[in-house]
Protein backbone atom coordinates (compact mmCIF):
# COMPACT_ATOMS: atom_id res chain seq x y z
CA UNK A 1 0.00 0.00 0.00
CA UNK A 2 1.18 3.41 -0.96
CA UNK A 3 0.90 6.19 1.60
CA UNK A 4 -0.45 9.65 0.89
CA UNK A 5 1.73 12.03 2.90
CA UNK A 6 0.91 15.56 1.74
CA UNK A 7 -1.51 17.46 -0.47
CA UNK A 8 -0.56 20.93 -1.65
CA UNK A 9 -2.43 23.27 -3.96
CA UNK A 10 -0.94 26.49 -5.30
CA UNK A 11 -1.25 28.70 -8.38
CA UNK A 12 0.54 28.27 -11.69
CA UNK A 13 0.50 31.96 -12.55
CA UNK A 14 3.37 32.12 -15.06
CA UNK A 15 4.20 35.73 -14.16
CA UNK A 16 4.79 34.94 -10.51
CA UNK A 17 8.31 33.45 -10.75
CA UNK A 18 9.52 36.51 -12.64
CA UNK A 19 7.85 38.90 -10.21
CA UNK A 20 9.50 37.16 -7.28
CA UNK A 21 12.92 37.12 -8.93
CA UNK A 22 12.56 40.65 -10.24
CA UNK A 23 13.88 43.84 -8.65
CA UNK A 24 11.95 45.44 -5.83
CA UNK A 25 9.01 43.05 -5.46
CA UNK A 26 5.91 44.55 -3.85
CA UNK A 27 4.77 43.27 -0.43
CA UNK A 28 2.11 40.93 -1.88
CA UNK A 29 4.75 39.23 -4.00
CA UNK A 30 7.13 38.92 -1.04
CA UNK A 31 4.27 37.32 0.86
CA UNK A 32 3.69 34.85 -2.00
CA UNK A 33 7.37 34.00 -1.98
CA UNK A 34 7.28 33.31 1.75
CA UNK A 35 4.08 31.27 1.51
CA UNK A 36 5.42 29.15 -1.30
CA UNK A 37 8.73 28.63 0.51
CA UNK A 38 6.64 27.24 3.36
CA UNK A 39 4.84 24.92 0.96
CA UNK A 40 8.20 23.75 -0.30
CA UNK A 41 9.29 23.01 3.25
CA UNK A 42 6.06 21.17 3.99
CA UNK A 43 6.50 18.91 1.01
CA UNK A 44 10.14 18.30 1.93
CA UNK A 45 9.15 17.43 5.50
CA UNK A 46 6.64 14.89 4.21
CA UNK A 47 9.51 13.07 2.42
CA UNK A 48 7.55 11.89 -0.63
CA UNK A 49 9.08 9.28 -2.97
CA UNK A 50 6.90 10.52 -5.79
CA UNK A 51 4.89 13.64 -6.60
CA UNK A 52 1.55 13.09 -8.27
CA UNK A 53 1.04 16.43 -10.00
CA UNK A 54 -2.49 17.38 -11.01
CA UNK A 55 -2.66 20.29 -13.41
CA UNK A 56 -4.00 21.42 -16.72
CA UNK A 57 -2.70 21.94 -20.21
CA UNK A 58 -3.33 25.29 -21.89
CA UNK A 59 -4.27 23.89 -25.31
CA UNK A 60 -0.53 23.59 -25.83
CA UNK A 61 -0.74 19.88 -26.30
CA UNK A 62 -4.19 18.33 -25.85
CA UNK A 63 -6.60 19.98 -28.21
CA UNK A 64 -10.21 19.58 -29.27
CA UNK A 65 -9.28 16.92 -31.80
CA UNK A 66 -8.87 14.53 -28.84
CA UNK A 67 -9.59 16.18 -25.53
CA UNK A 68 -9.66 13.87 -22.53
CA UNK A 69 -11.09 15.22 -19.26
CA UNK A 70 -8.48 13.31 -17.22
CA UNK A 71 -5.22 11.86 -18.53
CA UNK A 72 -2.26 10.13 -16.88
CA UNK A 73 1.21 10.55 -18.39
CA UNK A 74 3.39 7.44 -18.28
CA UNK A 75 6.47 8.11 -20.41
CA UNK A 76 9.74 7.48 -18.52
CA UNK A 77 10.75 11.13 -18.38
CA UNK A 78 9.17 14.48 -19.01
CA UNK A 79 10.05 18.15 -19.35
CA UNK A 80 8.49 21.52 -19.93
CA UNK A 81 7.19 24.08 -20.50
CA UNK A 82 6.50 24.51 -24.24
CA UNK A 83 8.98 26.66 -26.19
CA UNK A 84 6.47 29.44 -26.79
CA UNK A 85 5.76 29.58 -23.05
CA UNK A 86 9.46 29.96 -22.28
CA UNK A 87 9.55 32.75 -24.83
CA UNK A 88 6.43 34.53 -23.52
CA UNK A 89 7.01 34.20 -19.78
CA UNK A 90 10.79 33.59 -19.55
CA UNK A 91 10.12 30.48 -17.46
CA UNK A 92 12.79 28.16 -16.12
CA UNK A 93 12.57 24.67 -17.65
CA UNK A 94 11.75 21.70 -15.45
CA UNK A 95 12.71 18.06 -16.07
CA UNK A 96 11.92 14.95 -14.08
CA UNK A 97 11.59 11.20 -14.22
CA UNK A 98 8.09 9.77 -14.27
CA UNK A 99 7.32 7.04 -11.75
CA UNK A 100 5.92 4.63 -14.31
CA UNK A 101 4.99 2.02 -11.74
CA UNK A 102 2.75 4.45 -9.87
CA UNK A 103 1.39 5.94 -13.11
CA UNK A 104 0.44 2.52 -14.45
CA UNK A 105 -0.90 1.46 -11.08
CA UNK A 106 -3.28 4.43 -10.96
CA UNK A 107 -4.31 3.85 -14.55
CA UNK A 108 -5.00 0.18 -13.90
CA UNK A 109 -7.01 0.86 -10.74
CA UNK A 110 -8.97 3.77 -12.18
CA UNK A 111 -11.76 1.78 -13.87
CA UNK A 112 -12.51 -0.04 -10.65
CA UNK A 113 -13.04 3.30 -8.93
CA UNK A 114 -15.20 4.60 -11.73
CA UNK A 115 -12.75 6.98 -13.43
CA UNK A 116 -11.89 6.79 -17.12
CA UNK A 117 -8.33 8.09 -17.45
CA UNK A 118 -6.85 8.49 -20.88
CA UNK A 119 -3.13 7.74 -20.97
CA UNK A 120 -0.12 9.08 -22.80
CA UNK A 121 3.32 7.66 -23.56
CA UNK A 122 4.52 10.87 -25.21
CA UNK A 123 3.85 14.27 -23.74
CA UNK A 124 5.38 17.34 -22.17
CA UNK A 125 4.26 19.38 -19.20
CA UNK A 126 3.28 23.01 -19.64
CA UNK A 127 3.57 25.87 -17.16
CA UNK A 128 0.66 24.51 -15.09
CA UNK A 129 3.11 21.78 -14.03
CA UNK A 130 6.49 23.46 -14.24
CA UNK A 131 5.58 26.58 -12.25
CA UNK A 132 4.29 24.79 -9.13
CA UNK A 133 7.08 22.20 -9.40
CA UNK A 134 9.59 25.04 -9.59
CA UNK A 135 8.20 26.47 -6.36
CA UNK A 136 7.76 23.25 -4.40
CA UNK A 137 10.60 21.05 -5.67
CA UNK A 138 13.16 23.10 -7.59
CA UNK A 139 15.70 20.30 -7.00
CA UNK A 140 13.97 18.26 -9.75
CA UNK A 141 15.02 15.11 -7.89
CA UNK A 142 11.67 13.44 -7.15
CA UNK A 143 9.92 11.41 -9.85
CA UNK A 144 6.51 12.71 -10.78
CA UNK A 145 3.24 11.29 -12.13
CA UNK A 146 1.44 13.93 -14.18
CA UNK A 147 -2.34 13.91 -14.24
CA UNK A 148 -3.78 16.33 -16.80
CA UNK A 149 -7.26 17.75 -16.38
CA UNK A 150 -9.30 19.60 -18.97
CA UNK A 151 -10.27 22.98 -17.58
CA UNK A 152 -9.83 24.94 -20.83
CA UNK A 153 -11.99 23.40 -23.54
CA UNK A 154 -15.70 23.30 -22.72
CA UNK A 155 -17.57 21.23 -21.91
CA UNK A 156 -15.33 20.54 -18.92
CA UNK A 157 -16.52 18.20 -16.16
CA UNK A 158 -18.60 19.94 -13.48
CA UNK A 159 -17.17 20.62 -10.02
CA UNK A 160 -18.77 17.58 -8.43
CA UNK A 161 -17.02 15.33 -10.93
CA UNK A 162 -13.68 16.91 -10.02
CA UNK A 163 -14.52 16.24 -6.38
CA UNK A 164 -15.44 12.60 -7.11
CA UNK A 165 -12.30 12.05 -9.15
CA UNK A 166 -10.25 13.42 -6.25
CA UNK A 167 -11.90 10.97 -3.88
CA UNK A 168 -11.32 8.15 -6.34
CA UNK A 169 -7.62 8.98 -6.75
CA UNK A 170 -7.28 8.85 -2.98
CA UNK A 171 -8.75 5.35 -2.95
CA UNK A 172 -6.57 4.26 -5.87
CA UNK A 173 -3.49 5.41 -3.99
CA UNK A 174 -4.59 3.46 -0.96
CA UNK A 175 -4.68 0.20 -2.90
CA UNK A 176 -1.52 0.73 -4.97
CA UNK A 177 0.79 -2.23 -4.39
CA UNK A 178 3.86 0.04 -4.28
CA UNK A 179 5.03 1.07 -0.83
CA UNK A 180 5.71 4.61 -2.04
CA UNK A 181 5.19 7.77 0.00
CA UNK A 182 3.07 9.92 -2.26
CA UNK A 183 2.86 13.69 -2.25
CA UNK A 184 0.17 15.47 -4.25
CA UNK A 185 0.92 18.79 -5.87
CA UNK A 186 -1.76 20.56 -7.80
CA UNK A 187 -2.11 23.90 -9.45
CA UNK A 188 -5.13 25.88 -10.47
CA UNK A 189 -6.56 29.33 -10.56
CA UNK A 190 -8.76 31.62 -8.64
CA UNK A 191 -10.45 34.35 -10.69
CA UNK A 192 -8.34 35.03 -13.77
CA UNK A 193 -9.10 36.41 -17.19
CA UNK A 194 -6.94 35.95 -20.27
CA UNK A 195 -7.97 37.21 -23.65
CA UNK A 196 -11.22 38.67 -22.37
CA UNK A 197 -12.30 42.26 -21.71
CA UNK A 198 -11.14 42.30 -18.08
CA UNK A 199 -7.59 43.18 -17.21
CA UNK A 200 -5.45 40.32 -15.95
CA UNK A 201 -3.27 42.54 -13.80
CA UNK A 202 -5.27 42.02 -10.60
CA UNK A 203 -7.76 39.44 -9.36
CA UNK A 204 -10.60 39.30 -11.85
CA UNK A 205 -13.13 38.80 -9.04
CA UNK A 206 -12.06 39.41 -5.45
CA UNK A 207 -15.41 38.30 -4.11
CA UNK A 208 -15.12 34.90 -5.81
CA UNK A 209 -11.57 34.44 -4.54
CA UNK A 210 -12.39 35.30 -0.94
CA UNK A 211 -15.58 33.29 -0.89
CA UNK A 212 -14.03 30.16 -2.35
CA UNK A 213 -10.92 30.26 -0.18
CA UNK A 214 -13.08 30.72 2.89
CA UNK A 215 -15.11 27.65 1.93
CA UNK A 216 -11.96 25.65 1.26
CA UNK A 217 -10.53 26.71 4.61
CA UNK A 218 -13.71 25.45 6.27
CA UNK A 219 -13.62 22.17 4.34
CA UNK A 220 -17.07 22.97 2.98
CA UNK A 221 -16.86 21.01 -0.25
CA UNK A 222 -20.61 20.80 -0.64
CA UNK A 223 -21.02 24.57 -0.94
CA UNK A 224 -17.97 24.87 -3.19
CA UNK A 225 -19.40 22.27 -5.55
CA UNK A 226 -22.77 24.00 -5.53
CA UNK A 227 -21.38 27.47 -6.17
CA UNK A 228 -18.47 26.79 -8.53
CA UNK A 229 -20.60 26.27 -11.60
CA UNK A 230 -19.23 26.87 -15.09
CA UNK A 231 -21.35 30.02 -15.31
CA UNK A 232 -20.15 31.44 -12.00
CA UNK A 233 -16.52 30.64 -12.72
CA UNK A 234 -16.70 32.18 -16.17
CA UNK A 235 -18.32 35.27 -14.74
CA UNK A 236 -15.40 35.53 -12.30
CA UNK A 237 -12.95 35.49 -15.22
CA UNK A 238 -12.80 33.48 -18.40
CA UNK A 239 -10.08 31.04 -17.30
CA UNK A 240 -11.31 30.71 -13.72
CA UNK A 241 -12.51 27.12 -14.37
CA UNK A 242 -8.89 26.16 -13.54
CA UNK A 243 -10.29 26.46 -10.01
CA UNK A 244 -11.71 22.97 -10.57
CA UNK A 245 -8.35 21.43 -9.67
CA UNK A 246 -8.68 22.78 -6.13
CA UNK A 247 -12.08 21.10 -5.92
CA UNK A 248 -10.36 17.86 -6.91
CA UNK A 249 -7.94 18.38 -4.01
CA UNK A 250 -10.85 18.74 -1.61
CA UNK A 251 -12.02 15.35 -2.84
CA UNK A 252 -8.55 13.91 -2.31
CA UNK A 253 -8.69 15.24 1.25
CA UNK A 254 -12.14 13.62 1.66
CA UNK A 255 -13.57 17.04 2.44
CA UNK A 256 -11.39 17.66 5.48
CA UNK A 257 -10.33 21.25 6.18
CA UNK A 258 -6.73 21.96 5.15
CA UNK A 259 -3.98 22.30 7.77
CA UNK A 260 -2.70 25.44 6.13
CA UNK A 261 -4.51 27.79 3.83
CA UNK A 262 -4.01 31.35 2.72
CA UNK A 263 -4.78 33.98 0.14
CA UNK A 264 -2.99 37.19 -0.82
CA UNK A 265 -3.76 39.86 -3.35
CA UNK A 266 -0.66 41.31 -4.95
CA UNK A 267 -1.31 44.60 -6.69
CA UNK A 268 -0.20 43.59 -10.19
CA UNK A 269 -1.37 40.02 -10.74
CA UNK A 270 -4.04 37.45 -9.88
CA UNK A 271 -4.60 36.39 -6.28
CA UNK A 272 -2.10 33.94 -4.79
CA UNK A 273 -3.69 31.08 -2.84
CA UNK A 274 -2.22 28.09 -1.08
CA UNK A 275 -3.73 25.12 0.68
CA UNK A 276 -2.05 22.14 2.29
CA UNK A 277 -3.17 18.99 4.00
CA UNK A 278 -0.56 17.22 6.15
CA UNK A 279 -1.33 13.53 6.22
CA UNK A 280 1.79 11.91 7.62
CA UNK A 281 0.26 11.69 11.09
CA UNK A 282 -2.81 9.90 9.81
CA UNK A 283 -5.93 11.55 8.58
CA UNK A 284 -9.05 11.84 10.70
CA UNK A 285 -11.89 11.25 8.29
Amino acid sequence: MAELVEIIGITHNPYLPGMIAGPDPEPGICQAEADYARMRQKMADARPDVLVVIASDHLNQWFMDNMPPFLIGKAPRTHGPAPQEVRTFRLTPYEADVDIEVAKGLLRESSRFGVDFAFSDEFFIDHAFTVPLGFVRPEMDIPIVPIFTNVMAPPIPPADRFYQVGQAIRRMIEVLPSGRRIGILSSGHLAVEVGGPKSSSYSADVEFDERMMKLIAAGDAETVVKEATWERMLQAGNVTPGFSNYVLLMGLAHGRAPDAVGLHFPKKTAAVPYMAWDLTQGDAR
Binding site: Q84, V194, N238
Partner: protein, 95 residues
Protein backbone atom coordinates in the same frame (compact mmCIF):
# COMPACT_ATOMS: atom_id res chain seq x y z
CA UNK B 1 -20.07 24.84 -36.60
CA UNK B 2 -16.65 25.80 -37.84
CA UNK B 3 -15.47 27.41 -34.60
CA UNK B 4 -13.16 24.48 -34.05
CA UNK B 5 -11.45 25.20 -37.36
CA UNK B 6 -10.77 28.78 -36.30
CA UNK B 7 -9.26 27.62 -33.01
CA UNK B 8 -7.14 25.12 -34.90
CA UNK B 9 -5.67 27.88 -37.03
CA UNK B 10 -4.97 30.09 -33.99
CA UNK B 11 -3.22 27.25 -32.23
CA UNK B 12 -1.14 26.18 -35.20
CA UNK B 13 0.15 29.69 -35.66
CA UNK B 14 1.04 29.94 -31.97
CA UNK B 15 2.69 26.51 -31.65
CA UNK B 16 4.30 25.85 -34.97
CA UNK B 17 6.86 28.23 -36.43
CA UNK B 18 6.40 26.81 -39.92
CA UNK B 19 2.69 27.51 -39.72
CA UNK B 20 3.43 30.99 -38.41
CA UNK B 21 5.69 31.77 -41.35
CA UNK B 22 3.20 30.36 -43.83
CA UNK B 23 0.42 32.41 -42.29
CA UNK B 24 2.49 35.58 -42.33
CA UNK B 25 3.66 35.00 -45.89
CA UNK B 26 0.18 34.44 -47.33
CA UNK B 27 -2.70 34.03 -44.93
CA UNK B 28 -5.28 33.37 -47.65
CA UNK B 29 -3.18 30.54 -49.06
CA UNK B 30 -2.58 29.13 -45.59
CA UNK B 31 -6.32 28.97 -45.00
CA UNK B 32 -7.22 27.47 -48.35
CA UNK B 33 -9.18 24.23 -48.18
CA UNK B 34 -10.17 24.76 -44.57
CA UNK B 35 -13.80 24.57 -43.58
CA UNK B 36 -14.30 28.19 -42.50
CA UNK B 37 -17.14 30.62 -43.00
CA UNK B 38 -16.43 33.73 -45.08
CA UNK B 39 -16.56 35.83 -41.92
CA UNK B 40 -14.08 33.60 -40.11
CA UNK B 41 -11.72 33.51 -43.07
CA UNK B 42 -11.76 37.27 -43.42
CA UNK B 43 -11.32 37.72 -39.68
CA UNK B 44 -8.22 35.54 -39.72
CA UNK B 45 -6.70 37.10 -42.84
CA UNK B 46 -7.24 40.63 -41.49
CA UNK B 47 -6.20 39.66 -37.95
CA UNK B 48 -9.53 41.22 -37.02
CA UNK B 49 -9.48 39.95 -33.45
CA UNK B 50 -12.69 41.68 -32.34
CA UNK B 51 -14.55 39.89 -35.14
CA UNK B 52 -13.01 36.54 -34.22
CA UNK B 53 -13.74 37.12 -30.55
CA UNK B 54 -17.36 37.87 -31.37
CA UNK B 55 -17.61 34.68 -33.42
CA UNK B 56 -16.57 32.61 -30.42
CA UNK B 57 -12.86 31.95 -30.97
CA UNK B 58 -11.28 30.63 -27.77
CA UNK B 59 -10.17 33.81 -25.95
CA UNK B 60 -7.00 32.23 -24.53
CA UNK B 61 -5.55 31.28 -27.89
CA UNK B 62 -7.07 34.26 -29.68
CA UNK B 63 -5.05 36.61 -27.49
CA UNK B 64 -1.92 34.44 -27.88
CA UNK B 65 -2.40 34.48 -31.65
CA UNK B 66 -2.97 38.22 -31.77
CA UNK B 67 0.13 39.00 -29.71
CA UNK B 68 2.11 36.66 -31.95
CA UNK B 69 1.08 37.95 -35.38
CA UNK B 70 0.24 41.59 -34.77
CA UNK B 71 2.02 43.41 -37.58
CA UNK B 72 2.23 46.89 -36.03
CA UNK B 73 3.67 48.33 -32.85
CA UNK B 74 2.73 46.14 -29.90
CA UNK B 75 3.02 48.75 -27.17
CA UNK B 76 -0.48 49.29 -25.94
CA UNK B 77 -1.82 46.31 -27.89
CA UNK B 78 -2.98 44.57 -24.69
CA UNK B 79 -5.05 47.55 -23.58
CA UNK B 80 -6.37 48.15 -27.08
CA UNK B 81 -7.32 44.46 -27.36
CA UNK B 82 -9.37 44.61 -24.17
CA UNK B 83 -11.06 47.79 -25.19
CA UNK B 84 -11.97 46.63 -28.67
CA UNK B 85 -13.43 43.27 -27.64
CA UNK B 86 -15.28 44.65 -24.59
CA UNK B 87 -18.44 45.57 -26.54
CA UNK B 88 -18.88 41.89 -27.42
CA UNK B 89 -19.05 40.74 -23.81
CA UNK B 90 -18.56 37.01 -23.33
CA UNK B 91 -19.56 35.03 -26.41
CA UNK B 92 -19.87 31.27 -26.01
CA UNK B 93 -16.57 29.69 -27.12
CA UNK B 94 -17.51 26.05 -26.87
CA UNK B 95 -16.66 24.25 -30.11
Amino acid sequence: MTRYQVDKVLRQVINDDTALEAFQRDAAAFLEGRDLSDEERKGLIDIDYPALYKLGAHPFILSGFTMRVWPADRRGLQAEYQERIAPHGYPDFET
